[in-house]
Amino acid sequence: MEKDDRPKPEPNGDSLEFWEGIKSHQILVQKCSSCGLLRFYPRILCPKCLSDQFNWIPCSGKGRIYSYTTIYRPPLPAFAEFVPYTIALIDLEEGIRILSQVEGNPDSIAIGVRVSVTFEDFWKKIALPKFRLADQ
């Protein structure tokens, strides 16, 4: 599937471990060693206390839809074959919000419904976290 020309995330010094985690099917987020705040997306300093000490914590991958939209007009041609597809802001159990796609019938997707993570491995070097409707 390397022919897929959808834009790939390009990991950098902040995000390498996050994307390595996704490749091994885990959502890793940073937990501040000083004040305990969980943060996403990954960055060098805690946005609350500015500590640069942190650990990577795995998330359960379970959460609820905060908002969503079903896209009919693709942002670029590489997405044309996938429309309509649904994008959502998902509030994970741990208190982290993440933007991703939600698979499933758009009619069943609503604010507040439970979702769980799944992973799409269509590139050799990088995977994407996606979500599907969980048992409600």
Binding site: Y41, Y66, T69, Y72, R73, P74, L76, L99, I111
Partner: protein
């Protein structure tokens, strides 16, 4: 800490807008230059009076120093020049920074200009894609988040929290079209019914095509000078009474509460500076990249209680002749929208209304206006309160 009060120290001396629509023979810089010339003529000033130049960038041209490219093309060597990069909030912010330069005696007269030839130089796909690239390259763009989809996330959540409907949003598009029909320079002037708006094709649910701004070639310029130059001007000066900005986040994935925006902070600062309240405002020109953008601003500036934007619109208050006419030139939904520069026409329209120059679309007794700019997906917001 007391903040320096800009109120009344700077005035808008002149405004100019080119024809709006498709102008295949005109480059982005050409449209900047034509708009600037019109604004100079309107002010009764010459190029040599200008000692500051601000621009807000281009989607079509990719100059590393955009204001430098424009100043070279226009052959002007101002004391200070720069480009404001706040997307659609940039137009209001250019005028704010011009007022600050003038109030502090750094510059005497500042030219602010925005233009682009997006309609001719880009296909629809290219334009959509160039906006989509503003989404976060790791946490948004790879998932296929378009710009309309970003605003759609806000709209969907607003529907959920407050019972807002597609009809409420469609009303805004219909009103803008009605106002455009009264404006000879508006790009799209044919009538739009509520039914047509509701039946337009879906883009990113709940937003449909009629909820989205149009695409144009065109340019606008606003010249700001010090209040003590009022007497030298050809037209009635319009006073900058209040300004404010509200930054929230660069990317929607980082928003804490997507229905409560930076507009509230921008408005609070601007209202306090101008020493007025929302009820004192005669009309508003609100950034309308999408219909939901207008509805949220109506609430967050305090023109109606939070969550009641839908009923405020449905009750007809935003129409010409209503309690608070909105986007009297037709807005970006119908008047025109040359990419990043779409917001400058809101300022130009406010100035013309305050001068009483708007003919059939004139707001009777227009004395006090609020102009709202929005950049990104409610990332940057920027406010002007203007008076005659």
């Amino acid at each position: 800490m007391d903040t320096f009060n800009l109120s009344g120290k700077a005035i808008i001396a002149g405004v100019g807008e080119t024809a709006m629509g498709k102008h295949p023979g005109k480059s982005s810089l050409a449209l900047h230059a034509l708009a600037s010339k019109l604004a100079l003529e309107d002010a009764g000033l010459t190029k040599s009076d200008i000692d500051g130049v601000l621009t807000c960038g281009s989607l079509v041209d990719n100059w590393p120093h955009h204001s430098g490219a424009f100043c070279e093309y226009f052959d002007i060597q101002p004391k200070y020049t720069d480009t404001v990069t706040q997307g659609g909030a940039g137009s209001c912010t250019m005028v704010q920074y011009a007022a600050m330069l003038i109030a502090n005696g750094v510059c005497q007269t500042v030219l602010t200009v925005g233009a682009d030839n997006q309609l001719s130089a880009m296909t629809r796909n290219e334009a959509v894609q160039s906006f989509a690239k503003n989404r976060h390259p790791q946490y948004e763009y790879p998932f296929g988040l378009s710009t309309p989809a970003g605003y759609a996330l806000i709209a969907q959540r607003h529907f959920h929290e407050f019972g807002t409907t597609r009809e409420h949003l469609a009303n805004i598009a219909v009103v803008c079209r009605k106002h455009a029909s009264l404006n000879p320079n508006a790009q799209v002037r044919n009538p739009l019914s509520l039914e047509e708006a509701l039946n337009s094709k879906p883009i990113a649910s709940p937003l449909h095509l009629s909820d989205c701004c149009i695409s144009s070639d065109g340019g606008g310029a606003v010249i700001v000078t010090s209040a003590d130059r009022s007497r030298d001007l050809k037209n009635h000066p319009i006073v900058i009474l209040g300004t404010g900005q509200g930054f929230s986040y660069e990317h929607i994935c980082q928003a804490h509460n997507i229905t409560d925006t930076g507009v509230r902070r921008a408005g609070k600062v601007a209202f306090e500076m101008a020493n007025v309240e929302p009820k004192d405002i005669d009309f508003v020109e609100l950034y309308d990249c999408f219909t939901i953008t207008v509805l949220i601003q109506l609430e967050d500036y305090g023109f109606c209680p939070k969550g009641e934007g839908g009923s405020f619109v449905a009750e007809g208050h935003i129409q010409s002749g209503g309690k608070l006419p909105v986007n009297t030139n037709g807005g970006m939904l119908s008047f025109g929208n040359p990419g990043i520069a779409g917001g400058i026409f809101h300022i130009i329209e406010a100035v013309r209304q305050l001068r009483g120059d708007c003919g059939p679309r004139q707001v009777v007794g227009a004395k006090l206006a609020l102009v709202g700019g929005v950049g990104g997906i409610f990332s940057h917001t920027s406010t002007l309160i203007l008076g005659r």
